[in-house]
């Protein structure tokens, strides 16, 4: 079987399209590369959707935490504490079993016991909490002069937030937020190891990598392939976020532009 045939058979295997049976013996490098790459679709799906939706909640929570009202600040604080203080792995397990037991009472929760919806919700809330903490820190370091200048121009409320506070907050938070994004994509590999079932062996990249490692008893091929894919993915994220960073900083004099410094914040 040539590599093109393998690509046709297994290229979209993680979505359930193509050959139903996974290879069982005589694993070729090509099969491993194709299947692990196919699994990467799920990592990208979880990462992108959680990041985009989490961004808005994170902004809201950060504003809540910075708010003067106790009734806004406290719940925002607890939300951040809850999701940042406990392991994502346990959050996945808890959410899965919660949805499972709720399913008994309400039919609607049937949806959330499958990974594509249930795990997405957990990742969405989790990244929102981590990003909110980043945004909150940035919000507090928005230069006083910027706000005063906005006041002098007669800007108030929504206009001031939309045109002054928010862009500055994003600009200050961006390097840390880039790390959060990279990190979120890495965290998506936990999904299928934490209760959420991979129905009909439709799993993510790590799921297939560990499948091959279990079958061949040779970790030295599938895991480096997985690592290669993730390094590529990381480079793409850094590239995209770098473009956004450029745009956010475009009004600053050249030498004052903050260069993106990448610092990983590791496991969550």
């Amino acid at each position: 079987m040539s590599c093109w045939e393998t690509l046709a058979d297994y290229g979209l295997r993680s979505l359930g399209i193509g050959e139903r049976l996974l290879p069982r013996s005589d694993f070729t490098i090509c099969q491993q590369v194709v299947l692990i790459g196919s699994g990467l679709i799920w990592n990208i799906y979880f990462g992108v959707l959680a990041l985009v939706s989490g961004f808005f909640l994170a902004t809201a929570v950060a504003l809540g935490k910075a708010s003067q009202h106790r009734w806004l600040a406290k719940p925002a604080d607890w939300f951040i504490l809850l999701f940042r203080g406990s392991p994502l792995f346990i959050q996945f397990f808890f959410a899965y079993f919660l949805f499972l037991s709720l399913k008994g009472q309400y039919e609607a929760f049937d949806l959330f016991t499958s990974a594509w919806a249930g795990a997405l919700i957990v990742l969405f809330l989790n990244t929102a909490a981590y990003s909110a903490e980043i945004f909150y820190g940035a919000l507090r370091s928005v230069p006083k002069g910027d706000i005063e200048a906005a006041d002098a121009y007669g800007m108030t409320g929504w206009v001031r937030f939309r045109r002054i506070t928010w862009p500055t907050m994003l600009r200050l938070a961006w390097p840390a937020y880039t790390n959060e994004a990279i990190f979120l994509f890495h965290a998506t590999t936990l999904v299928f190891f934490s209760g959420f079932p991979a129905r009909q062996q439709k799993g993510d990249a790590l799921y297939y990598a560990s499948y091959f490692a279990d079958k061949t008893f040779n970790p030295f091929v599938p895991y480096p392939i997985l690592a290669g894919y993730f390094i590529l993915l990381t480079l793409v994220i850094v590239g995209i976020f770098g473009l956004a960073n450029k745009r956010l900083n475009r009004h600053l004099p050249q030498e004052a532009r903050s260069r993106m410094r990448l610092r990983m914040n590791l496991i969550r």
């Binding site: 392991p87 499972l100 890495h186 590999t189 040779n218 895991y223 990983m264 590791l266 969550r268």
Partner: protein
């Protein structure tokens, strides 16, 4: 556990619960918490040691040693850490068995990798096939600790490497002016001063390490996640004296609370240590303390 637990089917309410929570399997569950704490207690210092060695070699003037240190630091970036965990457990195990195989069975002529099998001679098996159960468990735990230490050692090396560079240059120049050798200025000036710069990163790392402990489950250890799944599952009267429905959500809620408390307490403690360490240091925090006193 208690004398009134002899016939659980007659009990109800709190008495039932007190009996249920003290069964033998629950004791294993509680021991698993001990396992997590043991892992933390061993991994933290070992990883710190690995980190220190990594940072030291990354600073080395000998180019290949510096590359080695930098590669060790860089290798954990960009790749999901859970992939490292899954990889190292098998790779370390096979590495050990391979080395023992080379030493113990020199006249073995067949290849070790035959298709999908990894075959070493019987004497090289780790632990030996005839070994008692506890040795298998201990070996598994040892592999897990080593894996955690390698991965977190790289993270720690990154933090310590940064901290070493954060020590003000003037301090090192003064040391040189006093005629100290490279080694002397490293041990007497750099190392004592770098901790205050390393501590924020290291305390962050400690939190991360706490939150990584449930991954023990993936390494095949019977840890708290394993037991929470086992104990929480639906139990029928046929197999147990304490039948109940699917309680896994409650068990995981307990784990969630355990971790939240643990990270919260650590946070408070580390804040206090930072306060103590900043005392008298030429940093913003130390300066703030001085002003507050004056």
């Amino acid at each position: 556990m208690f004398s009134y637990c002899a016939d659980p089917s007659t009990l109800s309410g709190l008495t039932w619960l007190s009996c249920y929570l003290t069964t033998g399997v629950h004791m294993s569950f509680y021991t698993a918490f001990g396992k997590v704490l043991l892992l933390l207690a061993i991994t933290a210092p070992v990883a710190l040691g690995f980190g220190f060695l990594g940072a030291m070699s990354a600073r080395s003037p000998v180019a290949p040693v510096a590359w080695l240190g930098k590669a060790y630091i860089a290798v954990v970036r960009g790749v999901p850490d859970i992939a490292f965990f899954l990889f190292f457990v098998i790779a370390l195990d096979q590495g050990f068995e391979y080395l023992r195989h080379k030493v113990l069975c020199p006249d073995w002529d067949q290849p070790i990798r035959q298709g999908n099998d990894f075959i070493v001679c019987q004497a090289a098996k780790l632990p030996l096939g005839s070994a008692p159960e506890w040795q298998h468990e201990t070996y598994g735990f040892f592999l897990a600790v080593l894996t955690f230490s390698i991965v977190f050692g790289a993270f720690a090396a990154n933090v310590i490497f940064g901290a070493m560079r954060a020590v003000p240059r003037a301090q090192m120049e003064t040391a040189e002016a006093f005629g100290m050798t490279r080694r002397q200025s490293f041990w007497r000036i750099l190392v004592p001063q770098m901790w205050v710069y390393a501590l924020p990163g290291l305390s962050n790392l400690w939190m991360v390490l706490i939150k990584a402990t449930p991954l023990l489950f993936l390494l095949g250890i019977e840890d708290i996640v394993y037991w929470a799944r086992e104990l929480g599952g639906t139990k029928t009267p046929r197999f147990t004296d304490y039948p109940h429905g699917d309680w896994r959500v409650w068990y995981f809620l307990a784990l969630l609370v355990f971790y939240l408390t643990f990270t919260r307490v650590s946070e408070k403690l580390l804040d206090r240590i930072m306060q103590r360490l900043s005392h008298g240091q030429a940093t913003a925090a130390g300066e703030a303390q001085r002003r507050a006193q004056a």
